[in-house]
Symmetry: C3
Subunit: 350 residues, 3 copies
C-alpha cells in the first residue's frame, strides 16, 4: 500500500462501510479500506472510533492490542489512544511529555442503520451523510444482510451487479430463459451526475423458479437498476402491487482487485416471506458464487495482461456510465447531483 | 505478462507446440506460450483454433467457457467465436451490430503428427511449416511421447538436453563412467545458421545399464546432438547397424523460467522393444527428474542473483551456440539456413 | 537479491555469524547473509570455507553438491573447489585449461568459540577480529546457546532486545509489574562510536517469577544494555555478589526483514543452575516468541505502509542510538571506538 498514490487517485473523501455494527463489540478489529488498514474499537459509552492501524511509536498494528476502559492499548509498548486518536499514555514517559506526534491518525466515523461507515481519508469529514438504505425497518418489508467478498474492482463488481445480459448465460438456470426467441427491450438510462439509473420496459415476469415465487400471478415488471456514488448498487423489481424486491449493496474497495459487499436484501411479497426466505437466500448466494467466480477470473486475466481492454456495446447499459461516475469522483473535488437527468434510450435484445 | 514487451523480445513469429492432439477434444483448454494465455478448441469438423484467452467484451478467460457446435462461448455474457476468432454472437445486441472490435485475437494453428502447433504472434502465419519429427511412424521404429515441464528457460533446458559432460556427474549412476581414466574425444560443431549440431567421435558403447541394453554387442557409437530454431533439440545415437535412438524434444517457452517439453523418443533395437520399453521409459523419466531438479535450482539462483553469470569452457560445445541462435532469432527478422556450415573442431575430456 | 545494491548500502566489511560450528560437519550447507547465499563446507583438516553459493560455470547452487576429500563438487557438471574457492576440476577440460573465471567467489571465514563467522563482502578481510563472547567457558558460569529467527530488521530486533518499557506490556506476566506506582529511573547512555550502552540506576529486583529465582534475597540490581557494531546486543544483570545474567546475541541480517539470532545466555546463580535451567530456558523462549510475534507484525506493517514512521520519546533509550551506529557503519569506511564516551542522562518512568 502506498498511501500517497491511493490518495492521489481518490481525492474526494467519502464514506465506506468498514463493518456491520454487530461485528464490533469493544474491539479492536482491523478493516482495510482502499489498501489502508484501519483499526476499529469502541469507547466506554459505545461510540466507535477508527484509527490508522499503525501505532505512531513503533508502527505495530494497533488491532493486535486490547481495549481497556474504552482506550485502545498497543500490545508492544502499551501506548493508549482514545477513539479520536489522542494518545492517553506512552510507556516510559510522563503524561506531560506526550506531544502531537504521539497521537494516532484518525478517521471520521458514523454508525447508522447497523453499519459503521468510515471516511476514506484521515482527519476529514465528508461533506454529505453516509448513504441510507431505503427499506431497513420499513413496514411490510423483510430485510436480510449479507457480507461477501469478491476479487474484483469496485467498477467490475458494480457493473456485474447491475448487468442484465450476463444473467441469461452465467446464471442460465435461474433467469431470463427466452427459449431462443429474440425479445427486444427498451431501456432508459438517466444520469444524475452523482448517480445513474437504467429502467427496463416491457419486461415479463422472470421465467424459471425465481419468477414462480416472486410473482405467482404473473404480470408486468417494473425494473430499475441504480449506481450511486461513491459505491452503492441498487436493483429494484416491482411485480404488480404486492411484490417488491430491493437489493442494495454498499461496496467497499479493499484492494485494487478486492471489494467487500455489504448487501441489504429487502422484500415485500404476496405470500408469507418465511416460506421462501431460506430458498431465496440460497438462490442469492448461489448466484453470487457464480458472479464471484467469473469476477475473480476476469481480475486475474486483467492483471495477467496488464490492463483492461473492453469492447462495449449498447447492451452494456450501466457499465460505462459507472466508469464515468467513478472517474469524475476521482478527478473532481465535488460531484454534483443534477436536478434533471441526462436521458438516453437504447435497446437490449434478450 | 506484458504482450508488448514479449513481442519486442521475440519479433520473429514461429511455431510452438501448444498441446498434443489427443489432449484437445472439443475443448476449450488453456495453453500458455511465452507468457501469453491462449485458448484452444475445435470446430465441428475437428479443425483446431487458437484464440487469445481473453474475451474482447469483458476480458473473462474464454477457456472457462464451453464449445457449442464448434463455437466457443464465453461463460460470462455468452459471446461466441469461431475458430478464426470471428464473433458469431454478442449478448444483448443484434448480429448486425457486431463490429470488428468484437472479434477475438486469433493465432495461426497447425495440427501435424499428433501435435498442435501455434504461431507465437497473433494474426501472422510463420513463413515455414512447423518442424516434422523424423521417426514418428517410420518402419522398424517404436515411438513414445512424453509431455514434461521444467523450471528453466528454453536456453537452459536445450543446453541441458544436449550437454555431454553433466551426464557423468548428475546422472553418474547411468552414464559414461570412465572409472577415473581421462579420455579425450574429438567433437565437430557444425553451425548452419538456423540449426547447429555437434558430432562426437570415437565414443564407446556407454558403460552402465543403459549401454548393456542399447548395444549388447558393444561397438563404436555415432552420436550427433542438434539444436534447431526456434526450439527443438535432437539427440541421435547409432550403435552399429541395428540400434538407433533418437530423442527429439520440441520446447515451448511457457514463462521466462518455465519450459514445456514435448519429447518424442524413437528407437530401433536389436531386441524386441517391448522387452526394454518399460525399463527405458523409467530410466528416461528418472534422468529427466534429475535434470529438472538441477534446472529448477539453477533458475532459482539466477532469479535470486538477478542475472546469469556463466563461465564457458570448450567442453560447453552447444550451449553458447544455442544462445547465439536464440539471440539471432530474437533480433533478426529472418534467420537463414546456410548451405555449408561453419565448422569448428574441439576436444572434450571424459 | 541485488548484490550491487546490498554492497552499496553496507560498504564496511564485517563479520557475521554464518552458523554454529556443530551445524557444519563436512558440509555443504547454505547460509544466507544480507541476501547473499553462501555455501559452507570443510576441508579435510576441518578448516571451514565460505563460497558464493553459485557455481561459476552454470550458476547451480553449490550447496546442492557434495564434499569429496575436502573439495566441494557441484552436482551439475562436477566442478570442484577448495575452501579458498580455487577450481580444482572442471568437467570436460584439462586442468591446465582452468582459468581465473573458473574460480568461485570466496569469503573470509573464522571459527571461534563454537561459531563460524563470515565476512560480509567477498575477497576482503575485516580489519578487526570477530566479536568474542565474554562468558563462554568462564569459571562459575553456565552457558546456553539458542539459534532463533525473527522477521524483523537488525535494527528492529536489536532495539527490541535492549528495550526496557515494552517488557511491562508485551511480557507483562513476567517482568516489571509496578502495580500502578509510577517509578522514575535514571538512565545513563554512553556512546563509544562503535558501541553504545545504557545503564539503569536504582532498579529493584524484578517482580514476578523471574525475580524470585534470579535473586531470592532481593537487593539492588546493576543493569547495563549494550549494542556493539556490527550487530551484537548484550544485556547484563548483576544482583548483589552472586547473581549475574548475561544475554549476548550476535545478529545476522538474512534479508531486509529477517534476522537470525545467535543467542548466548550465560549465568552465575546463588543456587545450582541445573535446578532452574529448564525453567529459565522455557521462560526465555516464551519471551522470545512474544517478541518475534510483535516484530513480525511490525515488519509486515512497515512493508504494507512502505516505510517506517516512528515517534521516539526519551524512554526509547537505545533504539535511536543503534540506528545512528548502523547508519555510520553503512556510510563511513571505518567506525572508530572512542576512548571516552559521549554521555547522556535521561529518565524513564516505569
Amino acid at each position: 500500500m502506498n498511501s500517497t498514490r491511493e490518495r492521489a487517485s481518490r481525492p474526494r473523501v467519502d464514506w465506506y462501510v468498514a463493518c456491520v455494527s454487530k461485528a464490533l463489540n469493544s474491539g479492536p478489529i482491523r478493516s482495510v479500506i482502499d489498501g489502508t488498514p484501519l483499526v476499529l474499537f469502541r469507547s466506554e459509552d459505545g461510540t466507535p472510533g477508527a484509527l490508522l492501524d499503525r501505532c505512531p511509536h513503533r508502527n505495530a498494528p494497533l488491532s493486535r492490542g486490547s481495549v481497556e476502559k474504552g482506550e485502545l492499548q498497543c500490545e508492544y509498548h502499551g501506548w493508549r489512544f482514545d477513539t479520536g486518536g489522542r494518545c492517553m499514555h506512552a510507556a516510559g514517559i510522563l503524561p506531560e511529555k506526550i506531544v502531537r506526534a504521539c497521537h494516532a491518525t484518525s478517521f471520521a466515523i458514523r454508525e447508522q442503520q447497523g453499519f459503521i461507515w468510515v471516511a476514506s481519508l484521515p482527519d476529514t469529514q465528508p461533506s454529505q451523510d453516509p448513504f441510507r438504505f431505503s427499506y431497513i425497518g420499513s413496514p411490510g418489508y423483510s430485510t436480510d444482510i449479507e457480507v461477501l467478498d469478491a476479487d474484483g474492482s469496485v467498477h467490475a463488481v458494480a457493473e456485474n451487479a447491475l448487468d442484465v445480459p450476463h444473467t441469461m448465460y452465467l446464471h442460465g438456470g435461474f433467469f431470463r430463459q427466452t427459449g431462443g426467441r429474440r425479445i427486444e427491450r427498451e431501456v432508459e438510462i438517466r444520469n444524475y451526475g452523482s448517480r445513474v439509473e437504467a429502467e427496463y420496459f416491457g419486461e415479463e415476469r422472470p421465467a424459471g423458479l425465481a419468477g414462480l415465487i416472486l410473482a405467482p400471478g404473473g404480470g408486468t415488471v417494473r425494473h430499475v437498476d441504480q449506481f450511486i456514488l461513491p459505491s452503492v448498487t441498487m436493483v429494484d423489481y416491482w411485480l404488480g402491487e404486492k411484490t417488491h424486491v430491493n437489493v442494495t449493496v454498499a461496496l467497499t474497495p479493499v484492494q485494487e482487485f478486492r471489494t467487500r459487499l455489504y448487501a441489504v436484501v429487502s422484500f415485500r411479497l404476496p405470500i408469507p416471506t418465511f416460506l421462501v426466505k431460506p430458498f431465496l437466500r440460497r438462490l442469492f448466494l448461489r448466484i453470487f458464487r457464480q458472479d464471484a467466480d467469473v469476477l475473480a477470473c476476469q481480475s486475474e486475466n486483467i492483471r495477467l495482461f496488464g490492463e483492461e481492454r473492453f469492447t462495449t456495446t449498447e447492451a452494456d447499459t450501466l457499465g460505462p456510465e459507472i466508469a464515468r461516475l467513478l472517474k469524475s469522483a476521482e478527478t473532481e473535488s465535488e460531484v454534483k447531483t443534477a436536478q434533471a437527468p441526462v436521458v438516453k434510450r437504447t435497446k437490449i435484445v434478450l
